[in-house]
């Protein structure tokens, strides 16, 4: 697992890259800044395995996205994603010391790493911190809930379209570095079926892809192909961003 640890050269800049950190009261941010560290990830890097102790929480920056996967006897299934609108290691502030899920970095990028005890201490004493973080948790719950329906009802094509749109909302890049095996794993479908679904989208001019990169070509039409779960999850995402804009301090 290749991870490069870099001291933040511009801590202000990094913190503004995650919406929750940017929304925290400045006093809280200042107290936490000595505990913060910027970490870089490659695609596929594992932050938590099921059962791992939550010692650190991670606030993704705008260039990356993490996947939450539920492990079953047979396989892992993606149940949600977290980008710069949120944080991973949620059990850490809910009073649990353990991650029930696997968390992987989807797309290479960076995040702010913070010791969970430091965050817990601010969380416990400041209602504003509770409000900001718990609002995110409630939106995560909504996303996972929608995924429960989507995974049951919608086709591979609809889910693939949805997934690509959700990723693009979070990661500001024209092209996403994504291998088919990875996508197939996220969507819990067999790789051949994933490739067929991707081919269909490509032939309709909605996406462009090579073995390792995907680009959304026609966003509007891709939204039409996607199930409405995309729009619903995007609504939850926007809710969190908007509420943080309201509470943001300088």
């Amino acid at each position: 697992m290749a991870k490069k640890y870099l001291r933040a050269s511009g801590p202000q800049k990094e913190r503004r890259q995650n919406h929750l950190l940017a929304a925290l009261p400045s006093g809280v941010r200042n107290r936490l800044s000595s505990e913060m560290e910027v970490i870089h990830f490659e695609a596929g890097d594992v932050l938590f395995n099921p059962g791992d102790a939550v010692e650190f929480v991670y606030f993704p920056h705008r260039n990356t996205m993490f996947s939450l996967l539920c492990s079953t006897e047979a396989t892992f299934v993606e149940i949600g994603v977290t980008g710069s609108e949120g944080f991973v290691g949620v059990p850490g502030i809910l009073g649990s010391d353990v991650s029930p899920h696997q968390v992987i970095a989807q797309i290479p990028g960076s995040a702010t790493k913070l010791r969970v005890r430091a965050l817990q201490s601010e969380f416990q004493r400041d209602a504003r911190v509770q409000k900001i973080l718990l609002k995110y948790v409630s939106s995560l719950l909504a996303q996972v809930s929608q995924t429960a329906l989507c995974n049951r009802i919608h086709t591979i094509e609809e889910r693939l379209a949805r997934w690509l749109l959700i990723s693009q909302d979070r990661v500001r890049a024209k092209e996403l570095p994504l291998k088919h095996e990875f996508l197939a794993k996220m969507l819990a479908v067999n790789r051949a079926n994933l490739t067929l679904a991707a081919l269909k989208l490509k032939e309709s001019g909605l996406i462009h892809y090579t073995r390792a990169r995907v680009a959304v070509v026609d966003r509007k039409r891709l939204e039409q192909v996607s199930c409405s779960c995309y729009r619903i999850v995007r609504g939850h995402f926007r809710n969190v961003l908007e509420s943080n804009r309201g509470t943001r301090r300088g």
Binding site: P50, G51, E73, V90, G95, L141, A142, Q146, N151
Partner: protein, 244 residues
């Protein structure tokens, strides 16, 4: 003014609270009857109340515009209906409606939020179980088959009731499982034929619990153990699951 008579509660989340906190909350708890099919919180609603179930079962579903519904969770006396709103959600992501009639306590969100702000225990109780159940459902719905999912939900219901004969129609089960009634009838028929359940006059009784647990996907035990670990269900959780 006479102090209120001390109530005895069945709701596990209430029982998790320290005595003084429960006493502070008590005047805000209004006893209510929970009638079958009654919607406690509509999807997209800005909820005003939360509910502590004492008896009965509440179903949490995600609904699509075309009417397709899939259950993402079940809440009974172990938990609270309306947790997302307490945490700050503006609108309810799910519809919460009564699947099996019973009773409980209603509390205004304002009061519950005020209480939750003071109590980190309450906050944890409110969401950990629900997050675990919903997450597991998201995975389960993707990879497990109807018979094992049906077994899972029947066991999950039974864990939250104090009696055996559960009033559950096939129509209801179809909504829960996101499938057609005819499909449920077939699956339920197979479980009945194998002697695992008995279905008569709109009621399901579990006849062979051990074998029904074996038929269920592992999602049943995973969520049950998490609820046990949280103290919301009776019994000892299995030892921590090994890394996959």
């Amino acid at each position: 003014m006479k102090p209120p008579r001390t109530r005895s509660y069945s709701n596990r989340t209430l029982l998790c609270l320290p005595k003084e906190e429960l006493r502070r909350l008590e005047p805000q708890l209004t006893p209510v009857k929970l009638n079958v099919h009654e919607t406690l919180i509509g999807a997209g609603d800005k909820a005003k109340h939360a509910f502590f179930v004492e008896e009965g079962i509440c179903s949490l579903v995600v609904e699509m515009k075309d009417g397709i519904t899939v259950e993402v969770g079940i809440i009974g006396k172990e938990s609270v209906v309306g947790a997302p709103a307490v945490l700050g959600a503006d609108h309810s992501p799910n519809r919460a409606f009564i699947q099996i009639a019973g009773s409980g306590y209603r509390i205004s969100l304002q009061h519950l939020r005020a209480q939750a702000e003071r109590s980190s225990e309450l906050k944890s109780c409110l969401v950990q179980g629900l997050l675990a159940m919903t997450s597991q459902s998201a995975a389960c719905n993707r990879i497990h088959d109807l018979p094992e999912r049906l077994a899972r939900w029947l066991l999950t219901c039974r864990d939250r009731l104090d009696y055996d004969r559960m009033p559950l129609t096939h129509e209801f089960l179809a909504i829960m499982l996101g499938t057609r009634r005819t499909t449920v009838t077939l699956a339920a028929g197979a479980l009945q034929k194998a002697g695992l359940i008995a279905y008569s006059r709109g009621h399901v009784t579990i006849e062979n619990r051990a074998d029904l647990e074996n038929t269920a996907c592992e999602c049943y035990a995973t969520v049950r153990d998490e609820y046990r670990r949280l103290g919301l269900l009776d019994g000892k959780p299995a030892s921590r699951r090994p890394d996959v």
